[in-house]
Amino acid sequence: YSYFPGSPSWPSNKRQLTYAISPADRISADDATLRSIFARAFERWSNVTQLTFVEAAEYSAADIKIGFYSGDHGDGEPFDGVLGTLAHAFSPTSGRFHLDAAETWAADGNLPSAGEIDLESVAVHEIGHLLGLGHSSVEEAIMFPTISSGTRRVELAADDVTGIQLLYGANPNYNASSSSSNSAQEEKGGAA
């Protein structure tokens, strides 16, 4: 695991963070399924830390703002179309979480087919950035920078858990020995 320079994190008096998906910058996917994918992604981090996440009633008031954008979307980091860069998120306490709308996102809750990018996998990774983690060299870690299309990697690895717990403390209910986080692996979806 690694941290951003200066190890920024959310302040200690803010352990419940709100999030919302931009109503304007979305992909065509079932709303309930999309919301459940992000809820699951946030839950993976709350399971191991003292942080909790709730969906905000109003997008503008959310701590974490999620949106799907194409090309130049105003933050100096334009997206590049299909594949290439998939998403990016900013360090605490910015809360900006941007996904490339041009990708073929697997956003139906099923395993991705060849050529599809698993939305939940990318969401879990980017939430790590939003909370303060940088990239990891551990290939099994969520915070490893690359992911192949048609694969799914959503389980936090021990490396991710150690890194985030040093920032926010451990969830008292978290039991490392009963967690699958020590054996996180990439699942392959549809055959290439």
Partner: protein
């Protein structure tokens, strides 16, 4: 969907694939496989821009003429150093050349957040230790 993953679109693919998947942004880097120090190959300048984007190289975007003399297609010292750093971060053999495993890693879809920020990488400081433990 008929293309194996991690394989760039072959030249003929643009005729039969939908336009939006015929040329992933970094597919052309496959053409650089085998390049090493001292080579001059068209496309290396684009690779330098890729490596700059993710924190492995540092040069100004443009000089006063709108061009950048540092961004050439020459496989120079700075590119070799950048590739070695990239290889260490991704647990690859740090050869400094564009071997096939390095190129295959470079062309994979990825997060847009740089691996090295403000010249500081901690990516391989803890991770590499774990990786080495695994290998042992």
């Amino acid at each position: 969907n008929f293309l194996p993953k991690n394989i760039s679109s072959p030249p003929w693919a643009s005729n039969i694939l939908p336009k939006n998947i015929s040329s992933p942004p970094w597919a052309s880097f496959q053409n650089l496989t085998g390049c090493h120090m001292g080579d001059h190959v068209p496309g290396l300048a684009d690779l330098k821009r890729y490596l700059k984007r993710f924190g492995y190289m540092n040069f100004p975007d443009n000089d006063t003429n709108g061009t950048n003399a540092n961004v050439t297609d020459d496989f120079d010292d700075s590119l070799e150093w950048a590739i070695k750093t990239y290889q260490k971060n991704f647990n690859l053999n740090p050869t400094g050349s564009l071997d096939i495993s390095t190129v295959n890693q470079i062309v994979r879809p990825r997060c847009g957040v740089p691996d090295i920020i403000n010249g500081t990488t901690t990516m391989n400081s803890s991770g590499a230790a774990h990786a080495n433990d695994r290998r042992l």
